[in-house]
């Protein structure tokens, strides 16, 4: 009797969490349509989506350290959700840049990628996230095998810092906030390295 009830509660929780994850995008769109994004709504939208992409990336990276340090194994099931939401925001961020900011001016976009280093590293970060999102399904994990899947997903160790550097290089002068993001990303990745080292010691 208790089993189906528990599953339902969990399903409800998942739906609620998805709703929560979608909320920033909904707020940005509503603000954009109502004039709430100020004089340069395209810039505000792109920055807002980028901020949330980075925030979700940080949250996804935080799942494993928090799960291990707080001994909350059930958290693991939310890692994929947060990772995919991070990718969704990053994709919206890039799409807004391509469609709203540049309006498909591929020459200008190409020039941006080649000449402006914050765009270069940003595009690199997005590119690295694509195979991770594409292999996020359980079927893909099975197909690749756990070991290969984990190796592939270590790309996030590169994409995370690149995303933070993209933010630092975008900012004109006051880089304190983006630097904080970079430090958090590095701290979370450092935790993972520490866990790996610990496991290796325990195994030997």
């Amino acid at each position: 009797m208790s089993r189906p009830v528990r599953l339902t509660a969990q399903a409800v929780l998942r739906i609620a969490l998805h709703g929560l994850c979608a909320l920033p995008a909904v707020v940005l769109v509503v603000e954009g349509l109502s004039g709430g994004l100020g004089a340069n709504p395209i810039e505000a939208l792109i920055r807002g989506l980028g901020d949330w992409g980075l925030r979700f990336l940080v949250m996804a990276l935080a799942v494993t350290p928090v799960r291990r340090l707080a001994r909350l194994p059930t958290l693991a099931r939310y890692r994929r959700m947060l990772g995919l939401w991070a990718f969704a925001y990053v994709l919206l961020h890039v799409s807004a840049y391509v469609v709203l900011d540049q309006f498909f001016d591929w020459a200008a976009i190409g020039n941006d990628i080649v000449k402006h280093k914050f765009i270069t590293v940003g595009m690199a970060a997005v590119t690295l996230l694509i195979p991770l999102a594409a292999t996020s399904t359980s079927a893909m994990i099975r197909r690749l095998g756990g070991k290969r899947w984990r190796t592939l997903h270590r790309l996030v160790y590169v994409a995370g810092p690149l995303a933070a550097i993209h933010y630092i290089w975008m900012v004109k002068a006051d880089i304190r906030q983006p630097v904080v993001y970079l430090l958090i990303v590095l701290l979370l990745l450092g935790c993972r390295v520490a866990f790996l080292a610990q496991e290796r010691i325990e195994r030997n």
Binding site: L37, G38, A39, P41, L100, F103, H116, A173, D174
Partner: protein, 311 residues
Amino acid sequence: MLIGRPRDIPSSEITSRTAYLSRRQWLAGAGALVLAGGPAARARASGLGPIAKSTFSVDEKPTSLEDITHYNNFYEFGTDKDQPARNAPGLLKTRPWTVRVDGECHHPGTIDIDDLVRTSAWEERIYRHRCVEAWSMVIPWVGVPLAAVLSRFEPTGNAKFVAFETLSDDKQMPGERSLGMFPWPYREGLRIDEAMHPLALLAVGLYGDVLPAQNGAPIRLVVPWKYGFKGIKSIVAIRFVTEQPPTFWNMLAPGEYGFYSNVNPGVDHPRWTQAKERRIGEFLRRPTLPFNGYADQVANLYSGMDLKVYF
């Protein structure tokens, strides 16, 4: 969808917080009225006296007052574009206000802003405004040619450059406190022939009314053929000097911001391509013009100079 912004004020917050701005808010709400309706009446109310039209004005649709006054780079009041509008009106004390003028001139002295307002022949100059961040506006300034003011002090033959300084007061300017590592005060400079050019303007108003604090009240520089950051705000000192003076952004990042900073679609900034710009209120980016469209008037100032070197 994102560009079709309503003309009326979406934010009731600012009105309630700074009640004295309500008249200006009403003007913004009136939209087209701001341009079409009675500049003389507004001029009387502002104390600026009659405001003459100028042949230097461009025939382009001015950006809304709301956007001009809520999308500002004025780091002394915060680095976000909406922070100057929230912080400056309540914090910046614009009276009494004097501008010290000294250096290589025969009659150093001070300008009292009220004297200047009373004694100057004000003009409306509708200028293009191009920010180095690749956005632009069209702004109806109220000002007087910089040359007319500088001439009163009779610069000597040694005056090769003019240096400008913004007020520096961390009690009034929270941005100076939070950005303590920056080389305050904000400084700018022009070559003397640039300063004496008829397009260079000392502005005390916009849209026929006195300058809002966030736009650089009570007096600021407008140099329409240069990137916006050359238009130093809330000026307290002007000095005639023999050498090229240090300037704020150039001190921070010499590879990104040159002393001249003439609008130039051919020279990219490391962060932004300068070939195109987003006119605030428009969707598609438009091409950026050499010298921001003022090449006919100013290009001769730079004949023989490699503008890729002197960017």
